[in-house]
Amino acid sequence: MKIEKFYNWVNDRLDLSGISNFADKKVVPVHKYHFWYGIGGITLFLYIIQVLTGILLLLYYRPTAENAFESVEFIMTSVRFGWLIRSIHSWGANLMIFFLFIHMFSTYFMKAYRKPRELTWISGAFLLILALAFGFSGYLLPWNKLAFFATKVGTEMAAVIPVIGHDVLIFLRGGEEVTGATLTRFFGFHVALLPLITALFLVIHIILIQAQGMSVPPSLSEEYEKKPKSMKFFPDFMLRDAVGWLLVLGLLGILAAIFPWELGEKADPYASAPQGIKPEWFFVFLFQTLKYIPGKILSFSGESLAIFAIAIAVVLWIFIPFLDRKGQKNLHSRTFTVIGIILVLYIIALTAISYFFD
């Protein structure tokens, strides 16, 4: 066998037994929530697709206010399969964030953040923030009207941060206004800074998972300990994963082919904001929350208070592993399950209201 020969050739020079032992021993628990273990892998797969299609887009994309829109138009109309690559990148971004949310909530409800996996949860939370930053910065790149105003409003929010707000705004925009300078900056974040930081957090996240294995939810652990059942990672679980990845790739292809991503109209800094300005769907529940906040609460600006409250909620969410005391003792906390359900319902309800009733 050729492969065996190659393996032996490498093994003679570099001891591979550690890796092969590890791969041989790695198992995944099998129980009724087993299915959810595959979602993180799908998210990773989509990130890889983003990196690959992103690099392809870089061959034609030009990050200036004068050229960006036209270069994306060129990709869509003249470059062979340009429409496909761009649509996959755009749909892939949205699917990736969608699966990231599913992955986060499934690990949340399975209480996988319990000791010893606190750092896995925290690194995952940072990956979500990074993905949102990818989405926010990528949205502006085609330099169309909707994105221009969404970015204007989005970056304006930074101004409510006490003391350093204005500096943060200037840093994000590359000046007082959203201009070509903002586009160039966002491009740099999107294709260099964020991929670099994301790679770092992904490596941490994945190493932790390999070192610790998959957790069994506390609600099942008693039952599970009586009758442990597991499946080998190589090749059993991996083949299952592969089926999921193929399905997602198929879905992505279908979406991109049937609903090519729109380009809209070129941004004009002096034109009026068009109707239907909305951030991307994953920010919509926050955007909708802001709409219900009165302009003034006591003597504070309602908006600042709301943004402050959201920031606190995000920090609490990151530190969930330390807040769930029962979880630390490997017990199932109903309170935290209920908090999670309320949060999911809140996100779905506000998103639905914004799309269907506003």
């Binding site: 409003v153 000046g175 800094p269 002096y270 904001a273």
Partner: protein
């Protein structure tokens, strides 16, 4: 013996402290230009007091256009009675660019559905303050807009 020990640890403490401050100063020296580089330089703002917003026959009554005024959008409105008004088009809420709505004869911000009356005052929605109003006058064929003095 005892004395020597303390002076030794004192010396060690001093060396550690110097190394530490040295390191901090060194990092600061590396970081300072980077931080300054990140923040964009201030551009000399062209500050005009008066700009040409439109031609006399350009706008029919009950219509409007936006135009640049000191690098920011402004809006010139021709009221149904033929009179002109001009305002900053930058919404005082989160800086979207407002538009004139011919259907309900008001200034409207699409971003969070705010309405301003034709004096620039907020009539509904989240903006905290009125739109800045400008003076409008004609000079030959041109309609000029200038800052209020």
């Amino acid at each position: 013996m005892v004395k020597e020990k303390t002076s030794k640890s004192g010396r060690r403490h001093f060396i550690g402290w110097s190394l530490f401050t040295g390191l901090v100063a060194f990092l600061g020296m590396l970081l300072y230009p980077v931080l300054r580089f990140i923040m964009p330089p201030k551009l000399a703002e062209s500050s005009q007091n008066t700009v040409k917003a439109a031609k006399v026959d350009e706008l029919s009554p009950n219509s409007a256009k936006t135009f640049p005024f000191n690098n920011k959008p402004a809006i010139l409105i021709r009221l149904p009675n033929g009179e002109y008004r001009a305002f900053s088009a930058v919404c005082t809420h989160l800086q979207c660019t407002v538009q004139y709505r011919e259907d309900f004869k008001m200034i409207w911000c699409a971003c969070h559905n705010a309405k301003f009356d034709l004096n620039g005052n907020v009539s509904s929605g989240p903006p905290p303050s009125p739109l800045e109003a400008f003076d409008v006058f004609t000079s030959g064929e041109d309609i000029l807009v200038s800052k209020k003095v």
